[in-house]
Amino acid sequence: MTASALTRPGERDRLSVKITQIDWRLLVLLCAIAGMGAAMLYSVAKGSWEPWAAKHLIRFAICLVIMLGLSMVNLKWWFHLAYPVYFLALLMLAAIEIPGLGYTAMGATRWLNLGVTRIQPSEIMKIALVLALARWYHGATANEARFHWKLIFPVLLIGAPFALVAHQPDLGSAMLLGLTGAAIMFAAGLSWKVIVAAGGAAVAGVWPFIQFVMHDYQRNRVLTFLHPEADPSGEGYQIMQSKIAMGSGGLLGKGFGLGSQSQLEFLPERHTDFIFAAVSEEFGFVGSFGMLLCYLGVILIALRIASLSHSHFGRLATAGVTATFALYVLINGAMVMGLAPVVGVPMPLMSNGGTVMLTVMIGFGLVMATRVHRYVELPKGHGLF
């Protein structure tokens, strides 16, 4: 609990010092991605700020302020609030199941009705799960993290929200939660033997999962992904049109606002899940590769921040947020390129939609807080607070 010998006590807690600790490269990259998103939303609205682009920018500005605000919050507060936030989020997920409290749209009950507004607890859970797991591992030994009966706790922490979200049903979010949890367990030092065994079990379980657990529309998505030509006007249509948009963009693209697939509305969901295909069409291989590099840059910088943290909590929380972000990017990318089934996973910071942006920016608030407070020492132990 001693501060670094290089600094005077209390010096690091001063706001002016904290602000200098913000990672500007990360900030610039995030702004660039969001700016590109706004430009594409402007383009796919046929050169109009309405209905998406302007709102996207305003929303990002608000989220940016929130992120910067959160980055000033001492890591110990994140640490202390980890379990309470997790259980609150779990409570809300459970509350959805109570008739009258859950709000149903498009066949899925994903929203919690609070009277004045509706919130999506699965989004809160994405941050809360990361915090809770980081908190748990913070108190665990290397051996316990490797292979120990106590690992039942992190598995439960992951399993409970996974089950509730999958039941909504929201396969995309459930998958993100599960994979994020797995990534944290991996980063915390899970034994390779367990990893191999779990991986094997997962592969073996894919078929029964598709056959017995999935809803019809979900199964159709998977089947369509495997045989897109079988249904060229329905589910397969989206994948096909997305590939046409990307492929026809060629090396350098058709030019800003000139993509026929996105401008003439052949590209489905071009303002949300398929916005990356619009980028590819209008800016070509060069543009879309550049976007991927931006995302990769964000991910690597965030992992670097994780590795710099003095606290295990900070490391794992940052790694978890990064994993979530990376999963968003990779899954969405694979989906629009026809490498994965159409699951409703947006491209973070580019796709139109407030909830995911808020989640991601809160996540980066945590990352930034880890960076700013990388020297903070956190208490050990298994207490709840």
């Binding site: 030994t141 290397a142 993290a145 990534a183 991996f186 980063a187 915390a188 030092g189 006007s233 049109q241 590939k243 046409i244 948009a245 990307m246 492929g247 026809s248 963009g249 060629g250 090396l251 026929s260 697939q261 003439l264 509305e265 052949f266 590819s280 070509g284 291989f285 879309s288 590769f289 991927l292 590099l293 995302y295 990769l296 991910i299 690597l300 992992l303 994780a306 590795s307 295990h312 490391r315 794992l316 790694a319 990064t322 994993a323 990376a326 990017v329 990779l330 990318g333 694979a334 390129m337 026809g338 490498l339 208490p379 050990k380 132990g381 298994h382 207490g383 607070f385």
Partner: protein
Amino acid sequence: MSSEPSIFFSDVNERQGSFLRRTFVLGGLTGLGVLGLTARLGQLQVVQAQEYTTLATANQFNFRLVPPPRGIIRDRDGVIIAGNRPSFRVLVVRDETKDLDQTLDLLGQLIPDTLERRRGIIRDVNAAPRFSPVPVKSDLSWEEFAKVNLYANELPGVMADMHETRFYPHGGAFAHVVGYVAKVSDRDIKAVRDKGEEPSPLLYNPGFRIGRQGVEAALDEQLRGEAGGQRVEVDARGRVVGEDPENSRPAVPGKEVVLTLDADIQNRALEVFGEESGGCVVMDVRNGDILAMVSAPSFDPNLFVSGVPSNIYRAWADYERRPLLDKAIYGTFPPGSTFKMTTALALLDAGIDPKERVVCTGGYFFGNRTFRCWKRGGHGAMDMHNAIKNSCDTYFYHLCNRAGIDRIARVAEDLGFGHTYEIGIAGQSKGTVPSTKWKREYTEATSWDDDPTWYPGETLSVAIGQGALSVSALQLAVMASRLANGRKAVQPRLIRSVDGQPYTEAKFPDLPFSDEHLDIVRAGMAAVANDRTGTAYRASQLGLGDILMAGKTGTAQSRDYKAGESRGPRNAVWSRRDHALFVAFAPHDAPRYAIALIIQHAPAGGAADAAPKAREVMRVALLKDPDMRARIERPLPPEPESGPIEDEGAAPPPPEPTAAAPEPTPAEPTPVAPQDQTGPQPYLSEPQ
């Protein structure tokens, strides 16, 4: 808040070291993922870019087929026989509708009668290829058209447009010869494929119609024109957002076809049939132009354009008078006495003196049976002129074997029987001209009669136009034209020009008959129509001054009569009555027009039924000819052959035949003879 240090430094370091290694792996995995995505991007955007660009262009641009207007068919004066008229229609594209049922509900509120046909519409729409518009109703009123357009936004997948539809202003008059157009069927597509060609996309156009019969079918290719293409930019919902005139090309209209037919004569010819069934052909004897070619009863070809309601089609198909059959060129009938000119020419050809007389006592005993003349009491002594005038069967029975069946057959073929003609449309029957060769081949081909020998008794039947002989109305008209022309073996011609280019060049061979012989036959025909004792005297008076007709009546049995059976023509069942025929040309002194008219199962005989009808048609043909008009309007020389005026009266049929009247009822092979002796003789009672 807990906390004594429960973890040793070594453990902390171990945790941190492990985390760093694992983070490195995670970063590597992410990098790999991004690399994988990049590779996929490269595959899509660099390797397959061309392919996807093509697909994107296919999405973005549509070639809209611009259907060509079908060529117009005109008569010899330019009157439109088959034209096009604008029509508003509403179309449905299944894959653009959100919910077909709901869309049809809405459409039903705008156009109520689509509700009644709803099941059929759903079947059509579902049978159509994806994204191809299916016409749901044509001939919308302006109000309906405007309504559909007004509600276009609430009716995705429904559109209304204006197109051209085929129109036959004369209704049934040209139904058989000009034919009609109808929807393209799978069989049409298959026929094109069988020829090894790829069906033109035009065939799949919802408004396109293909020629199905007559001229429409025969000249379909010329009438069809060439489809144009309009390159338009469309959005995902198929709405046109832009046009590309540089890459569009206009449709080439179908070629105009001019026929030799005359709408006035044709209309009159159908009219005179009334309820009766039969065929009529009018020809110009100088050049073979067919001025009228009618089959009665007829049908309305306009109904085929939008699709014949099945109940109407059934009614047509089931009606015993067969409106759908072409009785002018497809149906064949025994010619009866109208064949006697042929026999007479054969007799002359055989060197028989036309002055030679045969005494008719009402029949002729030959072999072991009596061949009866139509006139029970007999005609008395007959030379050739009188035998034609009176249609005396006995005369021909008596002399025919001196000419022989093969000579008769040769003359018949020279006069035009037993052939089909290059008139440009399909569906002609050859008919049958019996000869010894024919019988040999016929018996070889059928097991009906094993004896291939021709018996002289059979010649007797053929000589009076019965037996196995069968001819079409067109062939009878050709015969009359050739007799009238005298010099050239005129060939019938139906299509005058296509796109202004003459369709066929008329080059006729010479007729192998001497003027002398022809004059005898023609004089006989003139006497039939103009001698007071001719078989068709009263029915043949044109009332056009000194323009007179020369003709020949015929009454042909449609079946065998059993011994002692009364044919009772007036009250017999329709299908058991005799056919009535009449052939004629006019003016008899300088022939221009020839006509042949057949009434299937007529109530009376050729003179009573067919001749007055033919006269009416002939009058129209003559009155339309300016030379004839000039001749009629010229003051008459003071000695007309007869007083035709009191006989005039177009509307009421002449109070012709009483039982006592000179009613021609030819050839009654007495049923005394055993059937096998006459050879293959069942008369083709039904045109098949």
